[in-house]
């Protein structure tokens, strides 16, 4: 699965951003962060510290309180361009009453059909089948997602993102609920895609040792629970 041409600059560039929700206290401050094509960056930190909000901010779903977010060359986009960003939310965001194929085709269409009014694309279907196969779900292709186990649903969400062939994959604890064997398969497929296509992977991971093992760089968001000497919630890079 080849990624669309992403240019040569960083895929994500954050500059002096403060994230959080309007009318609430700011959650995290990040002075500078750049993620280049082919890089895997893990975000770790205690729960409730703002990891998911950081992903949502980069995806354009939440506006930063201040600072600039540049994703795939676009500064503070209201929403990403079609197919450029693949997002696996913590709660997966699957259509529970629709089949596995329908869910994965959403990603495939976003990545391989330029506009909604274009006719169905055979390329999109090929990418969807390839992604479903890589997640070992070919025997579940017509099943409604609500009938699958938690781990299988997590694989469907990952397949949806892989079928999209995005420039940036953002995954929020996408390895939880998976047994060791399945986790290696899913992680292997995603890392293979990132290394071969030049896409970037930004992953939120609760387990710091797992985050260190999969990532090139580790960003720890700390509100004082990890390091009691810090006074405000900041993201700091930790050597892996």
């Amino acid at each position: 699965m080849a990624v669309k041409d992403g240019g040569h600059g960083p895929i994500i560039r954050l500059h002096n951003i403060v994230i959080g929700y309007e009318s609430e206290d700011p959650l995290v401050k990040i002075p500078n962060l750049e993620i280049s094509p082919g890089e895997i960056v893990a975000i770790a930190g205690p729960s409730g510290v703002g990891k998911t909000t950081l992903l949502r901010t980069i995806a354009g779903l939440v506006k930063p309180l201040s600072g600039t977010v540049e994703v795939c060359g676009k500064v503070n986009p209201s929403l990403p361009s079609r197919g450029e960003v693949g997002y696996v939310p913590q709660r997966l965001g699957l259509i529970r009453h629709a089949s596995v194929m329908h869910n994965v085709m959403l990603g495939a269409n976003a990545g391989h059909k330029p506009h909604w009014y274009f006719p169905p694309s055979s390329t999109a279907k090929e990418h969807a089948l390839e992604a479903i196969s890589s997640m070992g779900l070919m025997d579940k292709i017509g099943e409604p997602v609500r009938r699958l186990s938690g781990g299988q649903q997590r694989r469907v969400a990952t397949a949806r993102t892989l079928a999209q062939s995005p420039k940036l994959i953002m995954a929020d604890e996408f390895l939880s609920e998976l047994d060791e064997g399945t986790m290696q398969t899913v992680l292997g497929s995603v890392i293979d895609y990132v290394r071969s296509s030049g896409a970037a992977l930004l992953v939120v991971e609760h387990d710091i040792s797992r985050a260190k093992s999969m990532a090139d760089r580790l960003l720890v968001i700390d509100d004082g629970r990890v390091n009691p000497f810090i006074t405000e919630t900041t993201a700091m890079e930790v050597k892996v």
Binding site: R56, A59, G60, L61, L79, P80, S81, R82, G83, E84, V85, G86, Y87, V88, P89, R91, L92, G93, L94, I95, R96, H97, A98, H102, L106, G107, N109, A110, G111, H115, W116, P144, R146, R147, A157, R160, Q164, M170
Partner: protein, 302 residues
Amino acid sequence: MRTAINGTRMGIVALMTVLMSLLIMDGMVDDWGRLSGGLDNLVVFFHQSLWPPDWSVIEPQAYPVCTAHPALDFTCSTAWIGMIETLKIAFVSTVFGMIISLPFSLLAARNLNPRWISYPSRFILSASRSLPSIIWAIFFVILVGFGPLSGALAMTVYTVGYLGKLQYESIEGMSKTPLYASDAMGLSKFETAVNVVIPECANDLISHAIFMFEYNFRHGTIIGIVGAGGIGYYINLYLKFLQYDKVIAYLIIIFFVVIILDMISIYARSFFNEEGDSSSPSWFGVFVPEILTSGLRRLRGQ
């Protein structure tokens, strides 16, 4: 800030509400003594005018001549013709109502659109359900004349408003994460509506449509009174001639058809809920209350 529900406070509020209702009722009634003769009047009316029902309403009409098989000659009766016409009006208005209301409800949902789009759509939906279907029926009888066409149009307009409200409330109640995922993917609003929102809410939307058909049938029996077709036309006819024994026969028929439709509706809707995944519904389960079936299972030791 909202506080948790307090049992004593809720009790006082409930008591005050009941007392207020009694006071308002007392203000509307000038003579409570009128109630004393009500039961006697009912007994006299029932024995002299209503009972026994005149079942000639299920016999074939004298004209036009019935050409059906003798075993099926009831299909030439006014009760059958009126009932089938009411069912047709209910079906057509539910289908057309759903086709029209779905785009409006997608626009009206506040989790999909900004207020400047959702509020005008809600206004249109509110307007179409602000008048009861019988008033819409009078309106369409004036516009297009007597008959089932005006009935179908009236019920369709009412369905758009009523079903549209049920639909946008379902859409607003859906999980936000599929919308987050589709926004991050860069899918258009149209794709999100068609490929994410409708499939995710499909069970609710279908269940509401079945409920609406049942509702339209019950209301379709009334609109004939103003000349908008269906069994209500015949009820109104016999009311004018004071033939209450025929009217009660129609009402009994309507009662049984409503019960049958209600059961079909329960059966059909059971396919479109989460429980339908684990066990297929059975007709026995629809007709026999759950408390009896669970009692039987306990007796069998299951």
